[in-house]
Amino acid sequence: MSTAIPRLAASGAGSSGGGESGYGHLLREGEIDVSHRVILYLEDVSVSFDGFRALDALSLAIDDGELRCVIGPNGAGKTTMMDVITGKTRPDAGRVSFGQSIDLTRMRESAIAQAGIGRKFQKPTVFEQHTVWENLELALKGERRWWRGLAWRTTLDEARRIDELLATIRLEDEARRPAGLLAHGQKQRLEIGILLAQEPRLLLLDEPVAGMTDEESERLADLLVALEGRQSIVVVEHDMAFVRRIARRVTVLHEGRVLAEGTLDEVKADDAVVEVYLGR
């Protein structure tokens, strides 16, 4: 229904015309303000479930166009962090903002997705009864209002876009098959296709290579590296070979907070990290 995006502060969104001055800059509706290079902020975010602190004053900043890996032992809060960013879980405390101006903690899941955050689940989640083609068609960036869906016709441009996506995720031959009949790795690829179809500014991938063959995971790594700079990507992954292949910066989570941050080698050399995670 309403897709209004709550604003944190008056960051020049009005008609004050201070476009060139240092502080205010004109911001159009639906545009993400990355004037400080950062596309996603988490500040002191805490989440508790029945007394268990899943996130404990977590702070994190992802730059626009960055490809970031998040690793950490089970229960470190990786999936909860994604839930908080995508609106599935409301934080008990803290601030989550998309760009400078969009407060994610007050938005519904669908509004957050429309604002430009795409999410891939740990367990591949696709529309099983729909064909692969229809899966991508529904996901294509564009019309989301329900009444327009009654008389919707997919345009030629959209059909071409779907064909391109099918080629990117290499599922051309499966286009007409119901997604429920795909193999696990194919579903993973389809879900990534669904994400790309939304043309998000920020992709959150929860263990994307689980269940993929080595070849598939190599291809995905190549794809993510190719997207770097155009889209910001956060990958939660256990597969260290995959992390090594794609990561520029790695964040290690432990007990709901950031334990270390740096290149993979820096992180691996960190004593605290060795103790809780890699060393065992």
Binding site: F121, T125, W146, D163
Partner: protein
């Protein structure tokens, strides 16, 4: 990468668009044949063919078939929300009854002064010693008003209920139980004389509709034809909804609601639309049912009625739209035979039928005709 290269060479080719036709050619032929039988053959058999001929249709047969078609329309409506949106409503009998009551109010006003007490007020109001029509009966003497109420009352109740239930993300068995409670509460409310709808007797003894005598065979034929048209229209409309992009989103909500949300669709208006649309169709079915059966009372809101609707859909084949038509016809045809021949065994037979279909025909009767899985 070949696909892109191919596209560059043949820019108008679409690789794999989904089928968009509403029905296949055979499907349309079946719809047309059903309409021909409904609008031509049955009226001839009822009005022209002499009663002694084996091809003649009696008033009883006509009313029974009309009644079953009303049930079938309700089943189609239920299938839209259950089969395609995954919302198992155990309260659709409420919407059916509300549509029936909206029509019943008009039929009561059409009685005029011919009631037992020869008053302008409906008999039950005279009996309760009411002196004037309550405010919510104003306008009920107009047929157009009745038509509006048939759509608006079930639609509004469904919209409000759906708004709160879906917004609070109530799902699955919890939602089913709430719908069951809703129809039960409404039944208790309508049982009260003070509610103003005739208490446990409801409305009956109808005389006329639009000035024509309700019991006349010609009126019955018109009602039958109207019911058939409503049923066909309901199936085609539901099919159109299901095949639209909106319908594909609704099916996607059924299968993976979180994926739908994280793809940027807010499920609330989508669910609310099919839910309300379904309730309106159900109300129309109830409105056509009342003049043919000649009575509406709160027992139509009994929880068992709503559950029976679910059985029609399950037996016919959930998520097929046409299957529930067959399901309603099979169950109610059997019911009218059994309750006459072996009245005490009807519920056992219904139970056995349900168990047999669940065990041997998990996709219902429609599954027998399905060529490939969807």
């Amino acid at each position: 990468m070949n696909a892109i290269a191919d596209l560059a060479r043949a820019p108008t080719r679409r690789v794999a668009p989904p089928p968009t036709a509403l029905f296949s050619r055979t499907g349309w032929a079946i719809v047309a044949a059903a309409l021909a039988v409904n609008c031509v053959l049955v009226p001839i058999a009822a009005l022209v063919v002499p009663g002694t001929s084996p091809f003649a249709i009696s008033a009883y047969g006509l009313t029974l078939a009309g009644k079953i078609m009303c049930y079938a329309l309700a089943a189609v409506a239920l299938d839209l929300v259950w089969g395609y949106c995954g919302v198992l409503s155990l309260g659709h009998g409420l919407f059916f009854a509300l549509g029936g009551y909206a029509m019943g109010m008009y039929l009561m006003r059409q009685i005029g002064r011919e009631g037992v007490y020869q008053s302008d007020l409906p008999d039950f109001m005279v009996f309760l010693d009411w002196k004037a029509l309550p405010w919510f009966w104003q306008g009920s003497d107009s047929f157009l008003w009745a038509l509006a109420m048939i759509v608006l009352v079930p639609g509004t109740v469904a919209f409000l209920f759906g708004w709160f239930a879906f917004r609070s993300r109530v799902k699955g068995v919890y939602l089913s139980i709430i719908t069951q409670a809703l129809t039960y509460a409404a039944m208790l409310l309508f049982f009260r004389n003070d509610t103003g709808f005739g208490g446990n007797n409801g409305f009956t003894d109808f005389k006329r509709i639009l000035g024509f005598p309700v019991a006349a065979i010609e009126t019955r034929v018109v009602l039958f034809v109207a019911t058939g048209l409503a049923l066909a229209g309901g199936v085609v409309a539901c099919r159109a909804v299901v095949r639209s992009k909106l319908g594909r989103v609704v099916t996607a909500i059924r299968d993976a609601e979180s994926r739908v949300m994280f793809t940027g669709y807010d499920p609330l208006p989508y669910k609310l639309f099919v839910w309300t649309f379904s309730a309106v169709l159900c109300g129309i079915a109830g409105a056509l049912y009342v003049p043919q059966v000649g009575i509406i009372n709160p027992s139509e809101m009994a929880p068992a009625n709503s559950i029976e609707m679910v059985i029609w859909v399950a037996i016919g084949g959930r998520g097929t739209l046409v299957g529930p038509v067959a399901g309603a016809a099979i169950v109610n045809g059997a019911k009218s035979y059994f309750t006459a021949a072996f009245p005490e065994f009807w519920l056992f037979f219904l139970g056995a039928l349900f168990v047999a279909v669940t065990l041997f025909l998990p996709r219902g009767v429609a599954g027998l005709f399905r060529r490939r899985g969807a």
